[in-house]
Symmetry: C2
Subunit: 174 residues, 2 copies
């Protein structure tokens, strides 16, 4: 027996990632769960941010960001990242996350994340409550420990986080 619910975007499972924008000298961190692969040649991702988030301007101005796939060890850092804003909080200092330089973009990488994806903005689309950023993937870094013998990522070794609205209920404001 099915029930008709209010329209909502109830996809599951979805990834929960740490996005870094800005620069190594002046970075900001944000927690994002509205993100997907959207093309293969060239590889592109789409990421959606609610209007008013502090990082919106940094991404639009800088045109670059990194997507960092966390492990459960980073859950408390993500909680802090997702419930504070870079307007009044130095999230890098507060979380103690080490950042390292990227290969091709100005935004740095989260060193503790086993997979880091470097992205360069190509399209910005107005979706009313949110802006959708489409970006080309220009480099990928992966820990040796998550690669198989052919040098491919084996996700069973990654232990990624899955976003679940009932658990991570606070609305990110950054």
């Amino acid at each position: 027996m099915k029930r008709l619910l209010e329209p909502n975007t109830v996809l599951y499972p979805v990834p929960l990632v740490i996005v870094v924008c800005g620069t190594l000298e002046k970075p900001n961190l944000l927690a994002v769960n509205r993100i997907a692969s959207v093309a293969a040649e060239p590889p592109q991702v789409a990421m959606s941010l609610r209007r008013g988030r502090y990082s919106m301007g940094l991404i639009q101005e800088g045109g670059e960001f990194t997507v960092n796939l966390p492990t459960p060890a980073l859950l408390s850092a993500i909680h802090l990242i997702g419930t504070t804003t870079g307007r009044d909080t130095d999230k890098v200092a507060r979380t103690g996350l080490a950042l390292s330089p990227a290969a091709k973009v100005k935004a740095p990488l989260v060193a503790a994340c086993p997979i880091n994806i470097e992205c360069r903005l190509t399209h910005t689309i107005d979706l009313r409550s949110h802006l959708l950023f489409i970006a080309e993937v220009v480099a990928v870094h992966a820990e040796e420990s998550v690669l198989n013998h052919k040098g491919e990522i084996d996700y069973r070794r990654c232990n990624p986080l899955v976003y679940e609205a009932a658990i991570v209920r606070e609305r990110p404001n950054d």
Copy 2:
């Protein structure tokens, strides 16, 4: 120690869903893993399809589709859906999946999926290898068994599929 890989969209985890386009009389099924929630007010999803897929025209002409979240019981059906094309295969007959009418769109629902999302196309964006379809969610159906006592979806009751390239390796051609 990290290794620099070729650019690729290595997000994880991602959902694996059955999309239905066309009509109840002439439906087609496709397996999609490039899909995400992209906005909240109004709720919108973005779904990306490789150029040349048979369903591309059906979605562009009809302007409507449904997103159906499967359970592991549907894995062999999804395998068939993702490795055949509606050009020469009646996937509904081949999988034996029962379809039921939607509330607001012409494309039908997969009855066996515990969650069904009705979508109406709003934007089509050219991303070279793929087209990105952005659609507004106009209705959601959920099995009583996946709802909590407040009538909200509890994803721990859904047992959804997760797409993992190493397992579902074939490229969908539809």
